[in-house]
Symmetry: C2
Subunit: 310 residues, 2 copies
Amino acid sequence: MFDAKEFIDNSMKEIKSIVKESRVISACSGGVDSTVTTYLVHKAVGKNLIAVFIDDGLRREGEPEFVVETLKSLDIKTKYVDAKVAFFDALRGKTDAEEKRKAFRDMFYKTLGKAAKEEKIAFIAQGTIKADVIETVKGIKSQHNVLQQIGIDPEVYGYKILEPLRELFKPEVRKVARELGLPKEISERMPFPGPALSLRVLGEVTPEKVAIVRKATEIVEEETKELGTFQNFAVLHNDKATGIKNGARLYGNIITVRIVESEDAVTAKFSRVPYEKLAKISERITKEIPSVVRCLYDVTDKPPSTIEFE
Amino acid sequence: MFDAKEFIDNSMKEIKSIVKESRVISACSGGVDSTVTTYLVHKAVGKNLIAVFIDDGLRREGEPEFVVETLKSLDIKTKYVDAKVAFFDALRGKTDAEEKRKAFRDMFYKTLGKAAKEEKIAFIAQGTIKADVIETVKGIKSQHNVLQQIGIDPEVYGYKILEPLRELFKPEVRKVARELGLPKEISERMPFPGPALSLRVLGEVTPEKVAIVRKATEIVEEETKELGTFQNFAVLHNDKATGIKNGARLYGNIITVRIVESEDAVTAKFSRVPYEKLAKISERITKEIPSVVRCLYDVTDKPPSTIEFE
């Protein structure tokens, strides 16, 4: 049986003994993994930690403000970095899923590296958990927070990596979050991928396409928050389809809704959501987003599909 | 109340009085509209009708053989035209839905025109029904069998058009089919678009992509034949998505399943198919078609979407 309190005590001791009086940077996206990591390190080293929120332009509605405010309310030294233009520049013209992930990852480390240099830090803390390690080793996806395994040597850049959660699965991370007294919006927060909405725009990622999937995501999250499912989101296709808006033909956008049940993200089942709920989501998405004419529901388990589309 | 027997009698008289001793050609795809049209004209003018089955390479599994055999069993003079290479050549490089429809339509009339010339005919019989006329007038889709409204003047080619079903909706066409004693496979046949599987391959149409959607269509039709729904089919996306096959990552194909309830195709509701049925279809498609990693279900009514994707 996993003991969250014991884990926290051991982890803080270990972090202190490794970091000593050095400075640490932690990129916090607001997800449970990176927020628990950030808060654990903060508790261990206090003012020697600086949390960075990198605004890549790919976050959900209201997310940048929420994350920065939450970190400040926890008394964590926090830096907001506006990198929206740089990320969209890096993603321009990329259409292949792995290429997009690599472009995101490279820009993420470039931005983080710049902040690390400015802050004269020696350690980078990362929210890597066990599922990330397993998936990267298997070659299913390259998770952006597993450096060594994908051949990026952080020591080349002069930094050392702290990954206090790398032996934990998601349910254990949530237990640690509760034990740490983090707000419920964090401890019960749905998994959200590092490269954020860039994975949920099939084909090239542009600010216009991100705005469409951001709105669809907001609708899906609003309509499904009572379901208690593992992960609920929207994906914007690059393909288009025929529809009818205001009595005229429109060759418009397609949105897929994905709602899955899972324990640990390693396997998942598509959720048998009541059809009236899906009909409501489909209606809202096609009404509230003028360019969308069609709404699909993903009925594939993992395997053979993954949870995310990219 | 629609009287099918009266319709047949009047229609045959009208066809006879227009056609007299001339020769007529009718392109029969095996759908209820074109087969009823073909059989009506056959009953009116006998040997002066020649039915043509154009094999465009876009038909469902076993369809060319079935249609030709059915026409022959009805004693209709029938010609099989192998135009597969010509159609794939015409579709090559086309990705826009309307462009694809136009390319199909042009090749269809070119092929039919060639057959008409060989057979020295004066009339072309077409299975246009009322929904085709309404949709083309509204500009929602250009149905390939509504010539005059889209600016194609058949008289330029020296032919006249016979459209005996143009005032009928689909349920009335089926009544006529039953009254004519056509086999159940025809009278109760699901609607299937003129441009066939080309509309169900998003993006460029190639023989390889048609083979994938043909297999998926076969699975959907097998699994849903007992549902009694209006139309059931599969669509192959041009977008790809991540999945896992044999333990390794595969950036593979996406199939959408569309099952709708409708009276007349003018409006439609997505069918609330039991989830266990959808799970079975999804499992079969991702297992039996190696390149497919993900299966989606369309949860949009018409409007705002159309029944077909293109």
